[in-house]
């Protein structure tokens, strides 16, 4: 974007323009907090109801894969933050590099989640309604845990897929030189979204994998 057209006419100055776009994303993220909040609240309630089954379910998940995926996602947040910094400084090549890295790490997360973990759970017979083979004590409550597991991680993975789409768009825009230190709002707000999805996983990881008593 050329500096002459960097400022849209409805704004007084660049600072106001920058703040308006960021505020829009923050308000959207507040609605996202409510969206995930409902699911988290339901999970807390049912975990209290059927504690032993939920703890047993948690222990059936692979904590090594969960931890690895957390690390992958944190790396992608770092590359995204560095990408936003490159955009602020007007370094086009560096921006594209960091965006591509973020995209690859995001794809790696989705691959591990769906290709490795979900596939494993499905083959083991822990997929409610699709392939469920476990009929020990409290199996209906265990099934409920896995419903929550698939829904929570599934909705999170959907956000990741949307994020991957956004990143692809950003890479194309950056390649065409659409960003400048005066106007990089799309990079900034996409960064906010990406970090938010990271935060959701920061809470999902302990809630699903860790608090089931692994000692």
């Amino acid at each position: 974007m050329h500096s002459s057209t960097a400022l849209a006419e409805q704004f007084d100055d660049l600072e106001q323009q920058h703040e308006s776009s960021s505020f829009g994303m923050w308000v959207f993220l507040a609605t996202e907090v409510m969206f995930f909040g409902g699911l988290f609240t339901a999970y807390i309630i049912y975990r209290n109801f059927y504690l032993s089954a939920f703890e047993a379910g948690s222990r059936l998940l692979d904590v090594k894969v969960g931890a690895a995926n957390t690390a992958v996602l944190l790396c992608s947040s770092l590359t995204m933050a560095l990408g936003v910094r490159a955009a602020q400084l007007g370094k086009k090549k560096l921006l594209v590099t960091f965006l591509v890295l973020t995209l690859l790490l995001g794809l790696a997360f989705i691959g591990i989640k769906l290709g490795l973990e979900w596939r494993h759970d499905y083959l083991e017979g822990f997929a409610p309604g699709v392939n469920w083979t476990f009929h020990g004590p409290d199996w209906r409550h265990l099934e409920l845990f896995f419903c929550f597991y698939f829904f929570l991680t599934g909705v999170h993975a959907l956000h990741m897929v949307i994020g991957v789409g956004i990143l692809t768009t950003l890479i194309i825009m950056a390649g065409r030189g659409r960003f400048s230190p005066q106007r990089y709002n799309p990079v900034e707000v996409s960064g906010l979204y990406w970090h938010f999805v990271d935060i959701v996983w920061i809470f999902l990881y302990p809630l699903l994998y860790l608090i089931g008593g692994r000692y």
């Binding site: 505020f23 993220l29 790396c75 910094r85 960064g191 970090h195 302990p206 608090i211 692994r214």
Partner: protein, 141 residues
């Protein structure tokens, strides 16, 4: 230039802290602390989320408008959780009215039959309503 440019080293430090906290929370999960396990896991998660919000999402350098949006989200989520939990945790406080006794006992029978047979409560209730004795007998067989 618009917005605050953060030094690259700060991002690396925050990232190292996030990885360190991930290792810590994973490690703590393998030590028996009783009720404190859940609290530790959530406290560490809040710390990690705060680091991401403050530094990666630039809230530390953002205006009051952004902070207000985050605060609104947090307060609304707190209302959601607090009111829902206050319902769940206070249900035992008041006795069941005597007029409900029969219904409560009926539900307890269905629950027992469910635990035995693995059938859904809806299925058993339907059976019980049509022929009370046979359904419970079927459920427990």
């Amino acid at each position: 230039m618009v917005g605050h440019v953060v030094h690259q080293r700060l991002y690396i430090i925050v990232f190292a802290a996030l990885i360190g906290l991930t290792a810590l929370t994973t490690g703590v999960a393998f030590i028996d602390l009783g009720k404190w396990n859940t609290l530790a896991a959530l406290a560490i998660a809040v710390c990690k989320a705060s680091l991401v919000v403050l530094f990666f999402m630039h809230l530390r350098w953002s205006s009051g408008l952004m902070r207000m949006a985050l605060l609104a989200a947090f307060v609304w989520f707190a209302i959601l959780v607090a009111l829902t939990l206050s319902d769940e945790f206070t249900r035992q406080w008041t006795p069941v009215p005597s007029s409900w006794e029969a219904k409560v006992q009926q539900q307890a029978r269905v629950a027992r039959a469910c635990a035995h047979s693995g059938r859904s409560p809806q299925y058993l209730t339907r059976r019980t309503l049509s022929s009370p004795k046979s359904a419970v007998a079927r459920g427990s067989s």
